[in-house]
Symmetry: C2
Subunit: 210 residues, 2 copies
Amino acid sequence: MSRKGAQSREHILGTSRELVMEKGFAGTSIDDILRKAGVSKGAFFHHFGSKAELARELVRWHAGQDIEMFRTLAARAEATHDDPYDQLMMFLQGFETYISNPEQPSRGCMYAVYTYENAQFDEQVRGIVSEVLREWTAIYIRKFQEVLDVHPPRMEVSARQLAEMIVSIIEGALVLQRAYGKTDMTARQSRHFRDYLALLFDKPAQAAAA
Amino acid sequence: MSRKGAQSREHILGTSRELVMEKGFAGTSIDDILRKAGVSKGAFFHHFGSKAELARELVRWHAGQDIEMFRTLAARAEATHDDPYDQLMMFLQGFETYISNPEQPSRGCMYAVYTYENAQFDEQVRGIVSEVLREWTAIYIRKFQEVLDVHPPRMEVSARQLAEMIVSIIEGALVLQRAYGKTDMTARQSRHFRDYLALLFDKPAQAAAA
DNA sequence: ATGAAAACAGACTATTTGGTCTGCATTGAG
DNA sequence: CTCAATGCAGACCAAATAGTCTGTTTTCAT
């Protein structure tokens, strides 16, 4: 693939991303994409064999992005703190900063879009989506287990419960954020969850982060 | 409207409900509805002037259902207990029973579908959706305020924070429930939230409900 | 019973949709 | 520079889509 070819492909992919997040997958026609991206039908079908392939590439792109974000935040947290509780807290704070980026306020979660439109997609795409969500949960489970191994909680609770709760909260907050245009909903919910953790593990509330 | 007319209208509305929840609004064609409902195009457009009107009627139907559910559960809880904390707990338990109905496991929240597809809808429909979500939150805020007025929490927390948290959790859990086919995700998350409340308000954990 | 209004059936239409195909332009390795 | 591979433009197509219209059947108050 030539330099310009790759560039053009990225451009189409980026435009599609925005449109799909804005109008949903079924609600976004290929002509919509062509219009907004300013490219021809020939260009589109040169880079993507079909709309289904676009769906696959889109979800792969997001999966890649998110894994990278997770890894970066996790690495930073683990480099800064030894205690898994502190690591987790710092990780969540990092997420809050990331999701609150005022440059491009998040309009929702692409996996939620794909989940509610899953009838549109083939088994492969559905697999990637649930795989990513499972992976997120799994990462949290491991980390919470580390925390539980060191800090006795004030009530009986499993690592899985806590992991599924934070993932649910984030997903739900993104729905509400979009539903009534409150761009800080997700970060606020994450912060509240951290307060819950502080209470659960009997830690003093930390100074409020940025 | 004749008896059979109303009946037929309900039938179309019910079928549309299922299809939209299954495939999204943009992903559901009128022909899909006609096929599944076994009615003719003439019948459909006799009852609904357009697809947009169907969208309006659908969201109105859901709003009506949910308000009724909320009122019923709230009334029962308030009739059983005097303490707002106990009322809230019973309300949430009632919700868990409702959402866990094994007859028709919930495939998600229609408002989330509408939220992520909001570009498809007119201002009126978008208004109803955010109105319902706001109303839910408002009801919870009032109830949490009552609780906070009586029971001192173990950490500083506002009624709004708690209200938005439970709504987020439910919305998010419904996404996860659908994403990986775990039909009990929502009820479990609600239960975990109740445990959090028990910890927050320093109440003994109640015997696990059904 | 009857007649007008409501309920429906389904052919038809204009537009949009995802996708193909042919031919021209650009790129970059040799 | 050359030329084959890549990148791209846009006319074209068949199917699907939302919606219309005309005519027939059903309903129900009188």
